[in-house]
């Protein structure tokens, strides 16, 4: 299985603290060393980094830790291959375009006997069950809503049905964003925390590093972090219910 990290904020924020702990799971504090990736929305554009090296040895991961990129929507993934060989094409997150927006997707889990009919424009490039599920999701959204982005409530309802269906084939913890909202579905393991005023100090569980968020934020900032296993030791993370889909906008749960 793999590890997921998502961030959704009301103001562009860097993910260096969380990513530093998370990246250690790519070969140091955990054994997810079959590649990694991260995508940052900046406006409607996306910076997308993938690597089949482990996150602790990748020079690109080092760049991300040393050059803070500020974003309102971030999705990161560390891979432990279950289906599909170790290759760049199989690294999450995946990016496709729908309705003139980029969509970014990453998955933790293992789908069995999942062979949906793909008769739309989205085809997997790699060989993972995850990219197949992403192509299916986008195809079904396009079939359901046609040529235009629907209201968030309608989109959420459709995604609840689609993720419920896919999760019938195996664990389907996933993060999905179109640069306006971050959708999170939990089959087995997903936690979140919302950091807001008054900010406090946090200490990583994967490395002996603390940060006092009150020193690097304003009182209006709000940041949601979503992850397969809590990243800090001294904060209270909320566990998702199994089968739950939550939608984050501006650092808050809205659906």
């Amino acid at each position: 299985m793999c590890q997921l990290l998502g961030m959704n904020c009301n103001t562009p924020t860097d993910i260096v603290f969380s990513f530093t702990g998370f990246a250690n799971r790519g070969g140091l504090t955990d054994h997810h060393s079959d590649g990694w990736g991260i995508a940052f929305f900046e406006g409607s554009g996306v910076r997308h980094f993938v690597d089949y090296q482990s996150a602790i040895t990748s020079p690109v991961a080092e760049l991300i830790k040393s050059c803070p990129i500020k974003s309102q929507h971030v999705i990161a993934h560390i891979r432990k291959a279950t289906q599909g060989r170790v290759s760049l094409a199989n690294c999450h997150p995946f990016v496709r375009e729908l309705w003139g927006r980029y969509w970014v997707f990453a998955h933790n889990g293992d789908l069995k006997n999942f062979t949906p009919t793909l008769n739309g424009p989205y085809r997997p490039v790699g060989t993972t069950d995850s990219e197949l599920a992403f192509c299916y999701l986008l195809q079904q959204l396009r079939n359901r809503f046609g040529e235009n982005l629907p209201p968030l409530a309608d989109l959420t309802q459709e995604l609840r049905e689609l993720t419920h269906y896919i999760a019938g084939h195996g664990p389907f913890n996933m993060l999905l964003s179109d640069g306006s909202a971050l959708f999170s579905h939990c089959s087995t393991n997903l936690y979140y925390i919302i950091r807001q005023h008054p900010f406090a100090s946090a200490h990583l569980s994967d490395q002996d590093i603390s940060v006092d968020f009150s020193e690097v934020t304003t009182s209006k900032d709000r940041v949601a972090v979503i992850v397969t296993q809590p990243l800090t030791t001294n904060e209270t993370w909320t566990q998702f219910q199994q089968g739950e889909l939550k939608v984050f906008v501006d650092g808050a749960v809205v659906e």
Copy 2:
């Protein structure tokens, strides 16, 4: 206008030498400082880096110069904005998926009164004439050939007709690759060189750097470099004819 750089090889090769000279045009030896980008195929996967900082100040460009990435198909672009503001979504190259392959596209030129009907699955995310032309190209390829990649000769013939049509709206120098071939169309300025055994030394025109390719190659290597203006001072570059589309595979012109 902008600058383009492409590389197509019969064995994975790093582009550090050419990119070093090219990147200097992003604000140092030329005034193309409205962003830049580069995409590398590795197998069917793509590493895609874009930045709206100039190529000479971007830490990501520094990473690419210091950490050689080997690839058989590379497309790079330095932007001087003509249409569309300076933003990440407007940085070339653009990436989309068609027929289960990633397609990478970059454009130099300025299209006027180009308003094709987009009724397929591809929509621009940004506001450039270039991304619009890319979406139109992919839509028309999908309309023409359906669900499967056609033979290269048929694909080339269709691209000749499509690029000819688009170039009727203004300069359309472009590079396009699906990870198996590199398609290059010249409206105004495009040059190429094929480096092969016996390899010689080359000296950059944008920086006082030379490399002796015989020291870093084998006798079987073959590398085509395509660029809007020649990168070296002591080699003979071949200028494309206006309106010409050339196809490179394994470092050779095949169509």
